[in-house]
Symmetry: C2
Subunit: 430 residues, 2 copies
């Protein structure tokens, strides 16, 4: 049954620019700081943010079973913990309240003044307190490209890749919302042809174009989540830039995986787009051959057609779009990732985040990292200002955008845009 809030004919009494990612059919969830320095949970329509904490205090959610302070928090974790039924009731109510014909709030100037903000009046925060963060490696094209470059071009995919949604644990403490500048990291690297490592700023900082989903409390420790139920425990998705230092990674990652090459910073877009809002854009995942083991089998449309792009902007320069990819290229679905993650009884909590892995498409202009786009530095990317890039340089800004578009309905993620600051000056060592 189609969700009422997804009705494409619905319009809001809040003006929505023609190419906006945030029509009334979106209703994302985020956390922001208001002009009065209050932290609240909110949503967005067009270029206006809506304070859900204030709306709830004013009684606009009175028919929905919600605790009084559910939106007066600095993270969405408790709301997400309320579960899918509640998410839908709230989304439907917001959709109804801001629909063109609804006069309840529209005619109440005082209330409008309390709950509505223009985007420049607020500061977006991290939407969830992320307990555990896992990163998958679910793009066949990306895994193949990496295998070709670093291992065997003839056997690029490792033997387990077509059987397992390969993933690993990442670090939550350095996940920041878009807009937060990050620093070029220091680290150990082993220079080509040398036999002892050196220490200094990474010379190969890279982005990874990913998306990530946010879960609700899904299971007791010891209990797996069946693949056919897994989507019920996914609240929504964000854009995700999994910053990577390739030179540090190369030296450190055998045998236990990437560590300092990744955990200096990861950036996410601040609005979580619910699976409900993405429903009209469902598509099938790529055919899986060989067929996965039974615990990973599901049928139907388990992916979404989300257009992705990456823009690189040098300091004082204009942006160049350097990649266009799509979420639908991912080989393993989110449901498969979550079922695999919990098949051993691993517990998933509200606010956990799971990244897709770099989303590379089939063509060289759809690769999701500079490593692949410039093919290990052998095909430098040309920018509009004439400069070239094999890696991200100091004061470059990387911006990722994502949106769905079908029959005139556009549901988008906004952007995650991050500037890479130069490394700190070296410290004196004793």
């Amino acid at each position: 049954m189609p969700l009422k809030a997804n009705d494409p004919s619905r319009k809001s009494w809040i003006p929505v620019p023609a190419d906006s990612d945030f029509p009334i059919q979106n209703i994302p969830f985020g956390v922001f700081l208001t002009r009065d320095d209050v932290i609240t949970i909110g949503t967005r329509i067009g270029d206006h943010a809506i304070d859900l904490g204030a709306l709830h205090q004013l009684g606009y959610f009175k028919d929905i079973p919600l605790t009084d302070d559910i939106f007066l928090q600095d993270s969405l974790n408790d709301f997400i913990s309320d579960g899918k039924k509640t998410w839908r009731l709230v989304r439907n109510r917001i959709s109804e309240l801001f629909e063109q014909g609804n006069r309840e709030l529209q005619d109440n100037e005082e209330h409008r003044g309390i709950v509505l903000f223009t985007m420049d009046e607020i500061e977006m925060q991290l939407p969830v307190q992320i307990g555990d963060y896992t990163d998958f490696y679910s793009s066949r094209e990306h895994a193949t490209n990496v295998g070709k470059m670093f291992r065997d071009p003839e056997n690029a995919l490792l033997p387990n890749w077509l059987h397992i949604p390969v993933g690993y644990h990442g670090r939550s403490s350095t996940i920041v919302p878009g807009g937060t500048p990050i620093r070029r990291p220091y680290g150990q690297t082993m220079p080509q042809g040398k036999d002892s490592p050196v220490f200094g700023p990474s010379g190969l900082v890279d982005f990874e174009l990913e998306m990530a989903f946010i879960t609700t409390d899904a299971n007791a420790m010891g209990d797996p989540i069946p693949v056919t139920e897994a989507e019920d425990y996914i609240f929504g998705l964000v854009l995700f830039n999994d910053w990577s230092a390739r030179d540090i990674q190369k030296w450190e990652y055998v045998p236990l995986g990437p560590f300092l090459a990744k955990n200096f910073a990861s950036s996410i877009s601040p609005w979580i787009i619910t699976l409900d809002a993405l429903e009209p854009f469902r598509v099938a995942s790529p055919k899986q051959e060989p067929e996965p083991l039974p615990y990973l089998r599901h049928s139907g449309k388990n992916s979404f057609d989300i257009r992705l792009e990456v823009e690189l902007t040098p300091e004082d320069g204009e942006p160049t779009t350097i990649s266009r990819s799509n979420f639908k290229y991912l080989y393993w679905s989110m449901a498969q990732q979550l079922a695999h993650h919990t098949v051993n009884g691993c517990k998933v909590n509200s606010g956990d985040m799971m990244g897709s892995g770099t989303i590379s498409g089939p063509t060289p202009d759809s690769y999701g990292s500079m490593l692949e786009l410039a093919w290990q530095g052998t095909r430098p990317i040309r920018l509009k200002n004439g400069e070239t890039r094999k890696a991200i340089e100091d004061n470059d800004t990387v911006t990722m955008r994502g949106y769905c578009l079908k029959n005139g309905l556009r549901i988008g993620f906004g952007e995650v845009s991050t500037k890479l600051l130069p490394a700190l000056p070296p410290r004196k060592t004793k």
Copy 2:
């Protein structure tokens, strides 16, 4: 300057059995549920737990700057966040209050009745809410044993091992206190000589004898912690059993590291022993050759002489000690681990946990995992009841203990004891 609370001549008016891990010189910190179902932060002397929340309410910490509810919490995170100076003031005050000659509380029967519990009246909880958990791989003997078994006996250590305190991110959500039984996990494995994987309960569940340290908020994102300051940000240590499913690990871990083979469960001892309490037991780490890069160099005694043992108890059987090791065997110090972890600007928070990696000693009876003790199944371990083990079997209990002993002073960790329950019965798949 020696810490007053470490004075070995000090005795408590609470009786302390001769071989107790918890004399008045220990003063560990933990979280427990009282007979009245109240969660509180506490300490332990002998076989008595002390409710620090109640002690504080009764005014016994009035000269220390502490918030009113600092101990009335379900985790130590906020207290740990108060920093080393406060930890010491509180430890000194507890030491003073429970010292033989001190009558303040000793003579107040009503107050004693409120704050003192016997250990069977309380239920220990996880002491911290662990934000991020990292596991290192810092035992040279363990890394060498694994290299000999799985890679090249002649070049057992990987090239980066002597330069980097190798580590990787683990999962916080499934870390449980000792006493919590865990379940044999399901997972994918690739049977020897086959070319497609199978799904079922792991056949090779193993323990890993580790210790782990708990940090305080140490740095802003982007700022490294110098190795010479790192210990100031370590609150204390616990025993740590890093449960592992070797068959799952073997199939999944290339190229991104262990994942489901580890995240089904990890067990810690519930009392955190502070670095201050361990101070009398400092020893030097093994000599490091080649010398590490400058950011990892420190001098002096950077390790601790902590005797460790592992006991295996089959159901209805008697315990067999299967390993005796020591924390001092670790090649990389905690200070080096923390300095390395943050050298790229990675942020460390209060309550983060960092495991040592399996602590194997130089002799076969000091190896820290069944994998090594039974040398990949080729030398089964014999138990006292005549049974043998190559891996942990259903309903086996693994118990780890640790203590320091010097000049008659014993400071211990208690134990982490965990029963492995059989796998859940298989579910029907659609």
